[in-house]
Symmetry: C2
Subunit: 156 residues, 2 copies
């Protein structure tokens, strides 16, 4: 399954971030079978509170293609995008969001999430982006466990 | 009035952006009377769909102070922050958002806004950020008029 392969890339990238003291989130953007960008969360590395995995991947994909329009692409995110990242996906015209764990899981680890699910954001904002959750959730939850076991973890 | 002075700075920055072919939005972040960052929208200049004025100002302020925590600061935005920017303010722990025109005004100019007002985001996400709208709305609406009159305008 292609979806599984791309989610595994997002998970591997998140794991790489955990190893570098970053937060346990990864995202991979794919268009027509080609990976445009794959990033882990970079909030701590750059003191940039907006550098979530999804926002970072969107920036990378836009820079790579010199475009602000990622129509037709799919973003695989290890955790449900927060409202900032959901809205960034909407602005970038990403066609589909596929995520593993959910916002409440991140909140349970101490992240001060705005707990508004993607489906609610989509409905309230009338966004055309497709949303599929609970994809490889078990593998994605494992990232939180690995991160929680580390002494250098810092939520925000 | 200090609030008026800082909003005028955000408006002046937005106007500078319009002159450079950018979108008609500006934001200014202030802490204890000191301007930490003031930015106009940079979406087109860097092919970065996430580079709204508020996100850009938050990145600048965080980089300047080497922090991800802007507690106690106020953001003055010429237009109501979109849900991406509202959530970015929440993550950065900005204490108060003061804005001029509203999301519907931007939508009316062709921007594909998720039309979820800040107050609704705050309520649904249970965010502590204070929100004050309709501040110098007339001056802020003028920015849309100036931008609309330009042949090089590009909404997204």
């Amino acid at each position: 399954m292609a979806d599984e392969r791309f989610m595994r890339m997002a998970i591997a990238k998140a794991r790489e971030g955990i190893g570098k003291g970053q937060s346990p989130f990864g995202a991979c953007i794919v268009s027509a079978g080609e990976v445009l960008a794959c990033s882990h969360n970079l909030v701590w590395s750059g003191s940039d509170i907006t550098a979530h995995a999804e926002v970072s991947a969107i920036r990378d994909a836009c820079a790579r293609l010199s475009t602000i329009d990622l129509s037709g692409s799919v973003i695989y995110s290890t955790c449900e995008p927060c409202p900032m990242c959901f809205a960034a996906c909407h602005w970038a015209r990403i066609s589909k969001i596929i995520f593993g764990s959910c916002i409440e899981d991140a909140q349970g680890c101490g992240f001060s999430e705005l707990t508004i699910p993607n489906q609610r954001m989509k409905q309230l904002g009338n966004s055309p982006v497709e949303v599929e959750g609970d994809f490889m959730r078990g593998n994605c939850l494992e990232l939180f466990r690995e991160w929680t076991a580390r002494a250098d973890r810092r939520a925000y």
